[in-house]
Symmetry: C2
Subunit: 457 residues, 2 copies
């Protein structure tokens, strides 16, 4: 790395610039399957202006930049760059404004989901996008994340109304605004949402919030087969029932979660977690219909999480799914698939996945945001066992093929990163020239997270 | 127009290519305030491939292209180009597929809102975006339209999951897909939604539909002052009440609508039209709260539109607002503002608008999608009276200034077209370089609807 650039960066950051190996290792990957790649240095800016100065310099010196939030991404989206620097946004963690009358707020990129919700709680509003991990909101924007509550509350794509983005040339741009809707020119906000740091650095996010519902009710229902559970979820959506979450855990995952999260009173059977948000009256009405549909599909009677504590324990277990699977193997990694399908196709696809993992002899617990048609097969493995990884990748290839055949998408919420670049070619071959055109124009020196989403050459 | 190009286009279109003055006049503008500009010819393609061939040729000859749907846009978005051709998509009006299990469909660009809903009715699903006019769905996509039901069902931005777009070089691209969510690369779908035909021609739209609710209930409530009405709408949203529409009509507009639409049993007073979609139980619950809020703000008792017929009459009157105002003046035109604000700011802005029109001595009925913070001041005028237009524009300038001061947007749903280019500079000066960069790269010969949204030079 050029010595003048180094000196300049140190000066700009007033010491918040580390070249130590341990720091570089800490920011070398996310929760993904990749070996760490150490960037040359890690920068810790505190303001838009600092990010702007960093990018301007890096652009001048044609030095790659990897933006980094909490490092909870799963697809290699934040793996380091051995010719570049990583920008950790962790010091940009301030809640800038909350407007309780309009249900909106503006946060710096590294405010996390839980931090924001702790802050908002006493105002009776909340940020409803819940990907499980306590991710940074800027990171969630950059992968177009969603999670368990998208059925009712949408995804990052629908709750973000504006962004502050620093462009590769150092320009600071404020897209969108505070209104619920706008038709004022190109939708640049949604061009950056999901662009995984390849077009600029997201430094601020303007978000729509939701009122905390009058009544929240959570229930667990077991099914004799995964197919019964999936069919129930499918019907709940097709009946247009008001529901906030429908999460599926297969038998294997239930077993793992019962052990890892010390769950009581639930069984190691294919299971749905339901959650209803609304008034007490409307929730009761929805629950009645969902109970009927479950019963028709051989579901057990509902076990209710009555207290807040019980409910939190239940969802904590759901959030810990990834870590529960990771813990199965010492120094293990988890390969997570992320296909998403039209609701009518999900039973066929889940069944296909179950049969294939059996054929491959893989351990593969499954969880799913069934309300959105999105499910994950979690495949733990020892990175030293290359042949397991190869089997996993073969399984994943088949699942992608099946998904595309069923008009699904290769990624519902994790993004492409390094991991799904080949799959993106299969889904959107005809879109890639335009994506690359935009990338080349907006980032002519290819400094922004190069090699993620697609390769330019 | 080059003679070889003409011959080639005629050949491609097998005669569906008109150079007659009357046809060119028919496609020379929308429902806007502009004088007609006649393109050199109008093409009527029937397939994606024909559109592709047209664009390829026009790109080669550097001839501008104006895509045209139903011509119901209000901002000059489809005004002709005297050096180019207009592509009317009216023959691309087929519903390509409907999936009742997944609540989605795919339509050609010139399927209209009403055509689609007539088709869907017996399946118990509907397309919920209602801008008033019986617009083409492709046109609604290109301006990022919304309308009366956005409170509950979102906007074109949120219900479109994929598009077929013909790029300026003739490439046919399919963006997005059928799934509820995806993180597969850049969100090209939402780059085209709202791009007003400046980046390519939208030829197919993939849409999310909604189940027709079990119960629909519509009511009218009068208020002694507009402020009371606006405050009520504001509170309904702030209480998070489930409601499908809250439409405001001011006193003047009520008078006009009562005459034009032969409305009975309603008064020429500031009025809210409410509509509730849900189960009977949940609607009753919502209505109770809304009635209380209205009463607290001096609202009258609710007048219910009990039958489907009564309800249709009510909404027909709402839809006819634009035409009712236009009919006030022989050969008149209507200047419509389209500002949209955070809910908490809307009372202040509506009040400001009322005071200013009085000062200017303008006739200015008002309607609003208050649930979204969006309202229109409709200013009828005789195009021969330049001084009235100048007054209107001065009023509009002040309203825009006030709106931006209150963190609103210059256009909630109509787009920029020719009309709001100066205003766009005020709202998004720092976004324009990136918008123009994208435009220049994707349409290097600037053939796609040039001069709309912004000027390149």
């Amino acid at each position: 790395m050029n010595i003048i650039l180094q000196q300049e960066l140190k000066k700009i950051l007033n010491g918040r610039f580390s070249q130590s190996e341990s720091t570089r290792l800490n920011y070398s990957r996310g929760e993904d399957t990749y070996d760490p790649i150490l960037s040359k240095a890690v920068a810790f800016p505190e303001t838009n202006e600092e990010v702007s100065k960093i990018l301007k310099l890096c652009n001048e010196y044609k030095v790659p930049v990897v933006p980094f939030g909490t490092g909870t991404s799963l697809e290699g989206n934040v793996v380091g760059n051995d010719k570049g620097i990583t920008i950790s946004l962790e010091k940009m963690n301030k809640i800038l404004s909350v407007n309780t009358q309009d249900f909106d707020c503006r946060v710096q990129a590294c405010v996390t989901r839980e931090q924001l919700n702790d802050y908002l709680r006493e105002d009776g509003i909340f940020f409803p996008i819940d990907p499980g991990a306590n991710a940074a909101i800027g990171g969630m924007a950059s992968t177009s994340a969603s999670g368990t509550m998208a059925v009712k509350y949408g995804t990052m794509k629908t709750v973000i109304t504006g962004l502050t983005v620093v462009l590769p040339n150092g320009e600071i741009m404020n897209t969108g605004g505070r209104t619920k809707k706008t038709s004022a020119g190109y939708n640049l906000t949604n061009l950056f949402v999901g662009s995984e740091g390849t077009l600029g650095v997201i430094t601020e996010v303007q978000l729509r919030l939701s009122p905390i519902p009058e009544s929240i009710m959570s229930a667990v229902c077991h099914f004799p087969s995964l197919e019964d559970a999936v069919k129930t979820a499918q019907e709940v959506i097709q009946y247009g029932i008001q529901i906030a979450r429908i999460e599926m855990l297969n038998k294997d995952q239930m077993e793992i979660s019962i052990n890892y999260s010390k769950l009581e009173d639930v069984k190691a059977l294919p299971t749905l977690f339901f959650e209803f948000h609304g008034s007490e009256i409307s929730n009761k009405e929805s629950i009645k219909t969902v109970e009927e549909l479950s019963k028709n599909n051989n579901g057990s009677s509902f076990k209710w999480a009555k207290s807040l504590e019980e409910r939190n324990k239940l969802w904590k277990a759901r959030w810990d799914v990834y870590y529960s699977v990771k813990a199965l193997i010492d120094n293990g990694r988890v390969y997570s698939t992320d296909v998403c399908l039209p609701i009518s196709k999900i039973t066929e696809c889940v069944k296909f996945a179950e049969e294939e993992v059996k054929k491959f002899g893989l351990r593969a617990p499954m969880v799913g945001h069934l309300g959105d048609g999105n499910f994950h097969v979690l495949l733990p493995y020892n990175p030293e066992k290359k042949e397991t990884y190869e089997k996993i990748r073969k399984f994943s290839d088949l699942l992608i093929e099946k998904t595309l055949e069923l008009q699904g998408t290769i990624t519902g919420e994790h993004g492409v990163g390094l991991h799904k670049k080949e799959y993106l070619k299969k889904e959107h071959a005809d879109n890639l020239p335009t994506m690359k055109l935009i990338k080349r124009t907006m980032d002519p020196n290819n400094i922004m997270n190069p090699g993620k989403i697609f390769d330019l050459n």
